[in-house]
């Protein structure tokens, strides 16, 4: 039973348009959510995060939205660029766990065509 779900394995978008990647979670004890980006043969790279006390966080072209009542978050990339083509992982952290690591979704492969 997955606690963090990314139900779309892949997404294709044209350059300049918006990319929206979705993530659902089941555990209401998550207090912090992160998005990581991964290129082939490299490790995941931190992209953006959001605390459960917020509903939006923005960093340049990247915005993460959190809907706690729906247990849903999304990553918006505007405008999308070919260099954004990668696998995007949603991850969540449990509240009160000092050393525990993150719980990851399976990832969504984003392809941005020029």
């Amino acid at each position: 039973d997955q606690q963090v779900k990314q139900n779309s394995p892949s997404l294709s978008v044209q350059e300049g348009r918006i990319s929206i990647l979705n993530c659902d979670y089941t555990n209401s004890m998550f207090d912090y959510f992160l998005w990581y980006k991964k290129y082939p043969a490299e490790g995941p790279t931190f992209l953006i995060s959001i605390s459960s006390i917020k509903d939006k966080n923005e960093d340049g072209r990247f915005t993460v939205f959190l809907n706690k009542s729906a247990k849903h978050l999304s990553l918006h990339i505007v405008p999308s660029q070919p260099g954004d083509s990668a696998v995007y992982f949603c991850a969540a952290r449990l509240r009160g766990q000092a050393g525990t690591a993150l719980i990851f979704g399976k990832g969504t492969t984003l392809s941005v065509s020029s």
Partner: protein, 112 residues
């Protein structure tokens, strides 16, 4: 600043062999983690450490061991390699709980 360094990048083992995957970070991070990623899956936690001398099991620890004798190094040991351990292994670290994890580039391990 090298960040998180993993060695080797690739390795092929025979069933029953043992090996150690190395992980080193030069950021003075307290927390270190080992994950594995199977094809089409997310990362799953194997072991973690909150500081030198302290380690604890994650979600999938069976078949693995770790040690943390220094802040910098967090090696992962496979004692009796099994085909189910074929995976990509990622090491990560972070300074404290509120910082994001930094990942190494992974070790791709095949057990035949």
């Amino acid at each position: 600043n090298a960040g998180v360094t993993q060695t080797p990048k690739f390795r092929i083992l025979k069933i029953g062999q043992s090996m150690t995957l190395q992980c080193a970070q030069d950021m003075n991070h307290n927390y270190m983690y080992w994950y594995r990623q199977d094809p089409g899956m997310g990362l799953k936690l194997i072991y973690y450490s909150v500081g030198a001398g302290i380690t604890d099991k994650g979600e999938v620890p069976n078949g693995y061991n770790v040690s943390r004798s220094t802040t910098e190094d967090f090696p992962l040991r496979l004692e009796l390699a099994a085909p189910s351990q074929t995976s990509v292994y990622f090491c990560a670290s972070r300074f404290d709980r509120d910082q994001p994890q930094h990942f190494g580039d992974g070790t791709r391990l095949s057990i035949l």
